[in-house]
Each structure stands twice: as structure tokens, then as C-alpha cells.
Point group: C2
Chain length 196, copies 2
């Protein structure tokens, strides 16, 4: 996280709450594609980095770093750190932890997002995979337990909606610097600018 700033500037709007995503419970075989999608979603929707906790999976690291190299922007990928250590060092630096869970406060029907914003602190979004440890719900770990609706769906979908709402949509207009590949949006077909 050393190379990530404390504020995320998206076009002209400055969000002074940096967001990093911690993915817990990755199983290399079973979760390969899903974890890759979660990491790519974090990058594309304005997070500054991704932590794959407790495990090393070089294939995913290579995939994500290749996307960042080609598509631009600043995005860090870390892996292997035990989740508790990652959380405690984040908190030691003054960050807060938002655990996305179906059981949490509903982002639509509660004021939880406003309360998270009002703290104006860097945010670690904790997303699980298999059944998460009970501790995730404790005040020692999570500052907020947030539900993207209280129906079961997907950590990838939940992260996407959380980031889109947090950044108020501006993340989808974000400039990705030093990109080798840039898409020119089209009503039909594909148009890209590729730097060689």
C-alpha cells in the first residue's frame, strides 16, 4: 500500500477517501476467475489497489498487472499477507474497514454510506468468498458491515455497486494514465487506440 496515495482524484472531483479491496478466502482452482473479476472490478471502478490475503496466486497477479500495464492507471496488487495482519496494519495507519455482507446494513435503506463518508478516512473493503470468519463482524475487524441488498448474490456485484455509489458514478469516467490501450466508446462495433 506504500505506493498508493491517500486521495483518489477522479477527473475534477477529489475523493479524499482512498479505497483498497481485500479479498479473503481465495481458492486458487475454484475461485481463479471470480477473484480475477473482483480485482479487475476494483481497478476499473476506482479502487487504488487489491490485496489477495493469506495466499499467493501468481497467475492472478500476472493477469491483473498485465491489464494495468496495458490499460493504464495506478493500481497495486499485493498477495500472501495474512488477513488479520493486513487489517491491523491498515487500521494502524488510520484506515477503516467496510465488510460487504448480505447480513449488514442495507446501503439503500440505511444511511450507512453517508456515515462511512463522514469519517473521511481511507477505506479497506473486505470481501469474502467462502463462509467468512465470525470475527469479520466484530468491532475489532469491521467498522461497518454493509449489505448491497439483503439477498445473496456476488462479492463481485456487491463491490461494483459499492464503488459506483461511493464515487457517485464518476469512477466510470476516470482517466487511466499511460494506457497502451484506450477504448473510444461506440454505438456499434469496437474502436480502440493502441500505442506501440
Amino acid at each position: 500500500m506504500a505506493d498508493s496515495s491517500n486521495s483518489t482524484k477522479i477527473n475534477n472531483k477529489i475523493y479524499d477517501q482512498e479505497i483498497v479491496v481485500l479479498r479473503w478466502g481465495h481458492r486458487p482452482q475454484r475461485d481463479a476467475r471470480l477473484t480475477t473479476h473482483v480485482a479487475l472490478t476494483a481497478r476499473a471502478l476506482g479502487a487504488s489497489g487489491f490485496l489477495l490475503s493469506d495466499i499467493v496466486d501468481e497467475k492472478i497477479k500476472v493477469t491483473i498487472e498485465k491489464v494495468t500495464r496495458n490499460w493504464g492507471g495506478k493500481f497495486f496488487f499485493e498477495m500472501g499477507t495474512p488477513w488479520k495482519k493486513a487489517v491491523s496494519s491498515w487500521k494502524a495507519k488510520g484506515g477503516i474497514v467496510v465488510h460487504l455482507t448480505v447480513y449488514g446494513e442495507n446501503i439503500q435503506t440505511s444511511d450507512v454510506l453517508e456515515r462511512i463518508r463522514n469519517l473521511r478516512k481511507p477505506i479497506m473493503v473486505l470481501v469474502g468468498s467462502q463462509k467468512v470468519p465470525k470475527e469479520f463482524y466484530s468491532k475489532e475487524i469491521s467498522d461497518f458491515n454493509v449489505a448491497i441488498g439483503n439477498q445473496p448474490h456476488s462479492e463481485c456485484a456487491a463491490l461494483a455497486v459499492f464503488l459506483d455509489r461511493f464515487f457517485e458514478g464518476t469512477e466510470l469516467a476516470k482517466d487511466f494514465t499511460k494506457a497502451n490501450i484506450t477504448v473510444i466508446p461506440q454505438k456499434r462495433g469496437k474502436k480502440t487506440i493502441v500505442k506501440r
Copy 2:
């Protein structure tokens, strides 16, 4: 689709544009979990049904139908229909097709969502997986090509943001009727009402 109505009532607001999701290019081994997440996202975020085109995958059908049985609401799951047939019969019934793709019109920087709404027609959201056929971009197939940002990420994330924006967040407060399991949102821990 016969059992799906032409309007989706979410709490007090009526959205007269029904949304169904067509998932193309599913590979049973590799995509099992991802396709399951896409289907659960469709259900949890207000779509009325899911079509797994071109292929039959009983395991996913069983998983989704079990979730719908336990968590309530009306959600249909269909599979095996060739994608072209599904698209043409949808259009024959007066529906439009929205293809989610990184190359499309950016939902944040363009007025594409407004133009889709203004048609007030039932929407089939087409989400790919592997590289999609060129035809998806043609006017014979897609009425709109929409990008949830022009960076590569995930069909699951893209679908989630599209649905959350289309339904203006109300889908996350949707009542799921006849549920056996209902979550009572909590700041910490898990609270559910389970009917036996």
C-alpha cells in the same frame, strides 16, 4: 419467459420496463461459479429472469432455483435455447436488447441509459463471457451497446451497476415474496428469520 409480467413493481415504484438477462458463452467447468454469480446478481438486483443460452447446465439451474425457493420472489431460469432464437423471439414480442460491452457507449458519460428508458420496452440484457460474436454489435441483435466504463472488468460487475442505475437503487429495497429466509439487516452479526 411466459410466466414473467411486463412490468416490475419494486415497492411503490413501478418500472414498466421488465429486464431479463441472457448469458452467452457459458462453459460448464470454467464458468460455473461466475455464471452462478451473474444469475444471482440478476435475481437480487431486480431482473425478472435469466436465460443461459445454447447450453444446459443442470447444476446452475438447481442452485438458482433453490435460492429463489428459499429467498423468495419470482425469478425464472431458462437454459439451452440458441442465443439467436432467444433474441429474435424477445424482439418479436416487442423487446429490445442491451448488450453490455467495454466498447459501447459509456453509461456515465453518455445519455444511453436515458435513451433506453425512453423507449419504455422490455429489456433483454446480453452479457458475454468469452469473446462474443461480432454480430452482437450489429443492429440486427443489439439495440444498444452499453459500457459500464470503458475498462475491462467483469460481466457480473457490469450487470450489477446497470441494474442498480436502471432501477435507481430501489431494487435493493425490493420485497421478495414468499421467502423462507429473510435477513434482518444488522450493524454486526447475522440475523435471519427462517420459516419452517
